[in-house]
Amino acid sequence: MGSSDERVVAVIMVGGPTKGTRFRPLSLNVPKPLFPLAGQPMVHHPISACRRIPNLAQIYLIGFYEEREFALYVSSISNELRVPVRYLREEKPRGSAGGLYSFRDYILEDNPSHIFLLNCDVCCSFPLAEMLDAHKIYGGMGTVLVIKVSAESAHQFGELVADPITKELLHYTEKPETFVSELINCGVYVFTPAIFAAIQDVFMQRRGKAELRRVTSFEALQSATKSIPADYVRLDQDILSPLAGKKELYTYETLDFWEQIKTPGMSLKCSALYLHQFRYTSTHLLASGNDTKRASITGDVYIHPSAKVHPTAKIGPNVSISANARIGAGARLISCIILDDVEILENAVVIHAIVGWKSSIGKWSRVQGGGDYNAKLGVTILGESVAVEDEVVVINSIVLPNKTLNGSVQEEIIL
C-alpha cells in the first residue's frame, strides 16, 4: 500500500489533428480521442483506469489539438470522476519523450513518486495498480507494459526481449524487419521522476555530437539535412533501446486483450472489447433485454439513456447506441456503433458499421460491412449527416459527411 507521500501523476498522450489521418472520415468531425468506444470517449477508458491507481494526484492529457477542443470534455470528466484532469497543448512535435520532458514542471508540481505514461489510442484492460506494484518491487527507473502476440504480427510494433525471471528489459527494437520477439510494447509505461534526467541525457549527448560535427563543414551539411531536430526525443528508440539491459527498465506482462485504435474499423473492434469488459467492471452500463416491453437485446450492448429503441427492434451483439438516437420498429443492429442523433427507420438492418452523427437510415435499407476490421473497406462507415434512402443497400463503403445515398453502393468511397 502506498503511503500518503507517494503521489502518482498520469500523462495520456492524445496526438493531434494532422497526425493519424488513418482515422478518417470519423476524425473529420471529432478529434480521435473523443470518438466514443462502448459509449464513452476513447480517452475516457485510460482516464477511468487511472482512477484505480492509489494516490493518483493528477491526470494530464498532452496533445496538439486546440485547447478548446478538449475544454468541455476535460471540465466535465474532472467533475464526473472527481479527479483533476488537465489538457496541455504541445506547441511543436518533440517526440513522446520530448513532449513529456517539455511539461516536466507541471508533472513534477505534485512531487510525484511515480509517473504513468499512456497512449490514448491503446485499447486494453490497463492493469495500472498491479503494474505499479510490480515496478516498485523491480526498483528500476521504468516499467513497460508488454503483451505476447503472434510471431507474424509482431513486426508491426516495438518488439522487446525480457529476462524471464527478473523481467528486466534486455533488448528493444521498433518495428524490426526480422523476427526478434513475440513480446511487444503496449504503449503504457510507469516511471520514477528519474526519467526526466534520462531524457535530459539524450539532449546532452546530442549537443555533444553536434559540436563534434561542426569540425567538418561537409559533415555538418549532411547531418543538417538528415538528422531530426535536437529536441525531438522518441521514447522508444531514444530511451528504451539504449537503456535496455542496464537494470533500469523492466517489463510487466498483461494476459488480457490489447489493440491499437488506428482506424475506424479497429474502433468498432475495440468498442466490442470494452463492452465485453463492462460485464466484469460495470454491468450497470450494459443494456439487458429481460423486459418484454423493451427491445430484444443479445450479447453486449450499450444504449445511452436518452436514446429511444422500439420494442420490436433487435439489438446486438456488440452494439453501442449514443445519445438521442432513435431506432425504429423491426430494426436489426449487429456489431455497430450508432452515434448521436442518428435515426434508423423501420426494418432497417445495420451490420459491421459505424453510423455518423445525425445520419438517417431509411426503411428496409441495409448498411453492412464484411467485418474485417483491418481491411480498408471492411467496416462500412457513414460520416456525419449521411442519409441512406429507403431500401438502399450500402456494403463495404465509406461515405463522407453530408451525402445522400439514393442508390445502392458497394466497395466504394464516396466523397
Binding site: T18, T21, R24, P25, L28, I398, L400, P401, N402, K403, I413, L415
Partner: protein, 361 residues
C-alpha cells in the same frame, strides 16, 4: 442594382478541395470562384451582392471582410437555416433585394463560369418588358438537363421540360437570371425550386424571356468540368485580354501565371494551365491542362496533366501526375511517384504510386 448569388451547400462534388474551404472560395484561374462573378456584377453597376449560403458562414464572412474594401461593392450574407432549394433563398433575402427603386436584380448560380455579358442581359430585359429573363446556353446533350423551350425570334419562353426523352430543344438554363422585384411575390419562404415551380408560372403568364448566352458556359462544380472550364475561360481570355496570359518560349497555348509565381528553366507549360500565387515550378517541369493552386511547389523534372494540385501541396522530382488526379490542401507526392487519377484528401503524403484511380483518405 442588387444581385443574389446562390452559394448553397457543402460542395461535396468538389471534395477534397472543399474539405479545406467552402466551394465559392475554391480558386479558379487564380482567384476564388465567386470573385469572378462579384467583379463582373460590380463592373455592370451592381452595388450590393447578397450571398445565399447554408454552410460555413464564418469562413465566408471573413473572406468578405477582406474583399469588400478592395472590390468597392457591398457584400452581405443571407443564411439558410434549412436548405431552401433554388428559389427559397430569394424569399429569405427579400428585404435585401428590394430597395423601392423598382430595378430588376440579378440571380446567379455560384458554380457557373461564363463571360457574364450582363450589359446585354440588362438591355434585352428592358426591351421585352417582361417580368423575368433567364440566360440559356446551347448544349450537345440536352436530355441530361432541364430544357427551355422558347420562341427563337422573341425569346419568349413557352415551357420547361426536365430531362426530355425526345428532342424538344437544345437550350438549357444557364443559371443566370435578371428578375423584376414582382417575382419575389411569387416565391414563398420554403424549400422551392425555381425551375420547377417559379419559372413555369411566369412562363404561363407569358412574362418569361430567355436570352442565349454568348460565349462559353461551364458549371465547374466538379473536377472534370473544372478542368474543361479552365480551358474555355483561358480561351476567352485570349480573345478579350491576351496580355494577361503568359508568353515565352516555354509557353504553349493559353497559360495564366500569377505574378508572384516562379518558373524554372527548361520547363514546358501549357496548354490550359493556371499557376497560382506564390507557386514554385522548378526546372524541367512539364505542365498541361492543370491548375496549380496557391503556395504549391512542383519539383524538378516532374510531369502533370489534367489534374488539380491543391494549396501548399508538393509534387516530387520526376513524379508523374495525370488523369484527373486531385490533390487536396497540403498533400505531398514523393519523388518518382506516379499518380493515375488519385484523389487525395488534405494533409497526406503519397509514398507509393497510385496505379489506377483511387481515393486516398
Amino acid at each position: 442594382m442588387k444581385a443574389l448569388i446562390l452559394v448553397g451547400g457543402f460542395g461535396t462534388r468538389l471534395r477534397p478541395l472543399t474539405l479545406s474551404v467552402p466551394k465559392p472560395l475554391v480558386d479558379f484561374a487564380n482567384k476564388p470562384m465567386i470573385l469572378h462573378q462579384i467583379e463582373a456584377l460590380r463592373d455592370v453597376g451592381v452595388t450590393e451582392v447578397v450571398l445565399a449560403i447554408n454552410y460555413q458562414p464564418e469562413v465566408m464572412l471573413n473572406f468578405l471582410k477582406d474583399f469588400e474594401a478592395k472590390l468597392g461593392i457591398k457584400i452581405t450574407c443571407s443564411q439558410e437555416t434549412e436548405p431552401l432549394g433554388t428559389a427559397g433563398p430569394l424569399a429569405l433575402a427579400r428585404d435585401k433585394l428590394i430597395d423601392g427603386s423598382g430595378e430588376p436584380f440579378f440571380v446567379l448560380n455560384s458554380d457557373v463560369i461564363s463571360e457574364y455579358p450582363f450589359d446585354e442581359l440588362i438591355k434585352f430585359h428592358k426591351s421585352h418588358g417582361g417580368e423575368a429573363t433567364i440566360m440559356v446556353t446551347k448544349v450537345d446533350e440536352p436530355s441530361k438537363y432541364g430544357v427551355v423551350v422558347m420562341e427563337e425570334e422573341t425569346g419568349k419562353v413557352d415551357r420547361f421540360v426536365e430531362k426530355p426523352k425526345i428532342f424538344v430543344g437544345n437550350k438549357i438554363n444557364a443559371g443566370i437570371y435578371l428578375l423584376n422585384p414582382s417575382v419575389l411575390d411569387r416565391i414563398e419562404l420554403r424549400p422551392t425550386s425555381i425551375e420547377k415551380e417559379v419559372f413555369p408560372q411566369i412562363a404561363a403568364d407569358k412574362e418569361l424571356f430567355a436570352m442565349v448566352l454568348p460565349g462559353f458556359w461551364m458549371d465547374v462544380g466538379q473536377p472534370k468540368d473544372y478542368i474543361t472550364g479552365l480551358r474555355l475561360y483561358l480561351n476567352s481570355l485570349r480573345k478579350r485580354s491576351p496580355s494577361k496570359l503568359a508568353s515565352g518560349a516555354h509557353i504553349v497555348g493559353n497559360v495564366l501565371v500569377h505574378e508572384t509565381a516562379v518558373i524554372g528553366e527548361g520547363c514546358l507549360i501549357g496548354p490550359d494551365v493556371a499557376i497560382g500565387p506564390g507557386c514554385v515550378v522548378e526546372s524541367g517541369v512539364r505542365l498541361s491542362r492543370c491548375t496549380v493552386m496557391r503556395g504549391a511547389r512542383v519539383k524538378k523534372h516532374s510531369c502533370i496533366s489534367s489534374s488539380i494540385i491543391g494549396w501548399h501541396s508538393t509534387v516530387g522530382q520526376w513524379a508523374r501526375v495525370e488523369n484527373m488526379t486531385i490533390l487536396g490542401e497540403d498533400v505531398h507526392v514523393c519523388d518518382e511517384i506516379y499518380s493515375n487519377g488519385g484523389v487525395v484528401l488534405p494533409h497526406k503524403e503519397i509514398k507509393s504510386s497510385i496505379l489506377k484511380p483511387e481515393i486516398v483518405m
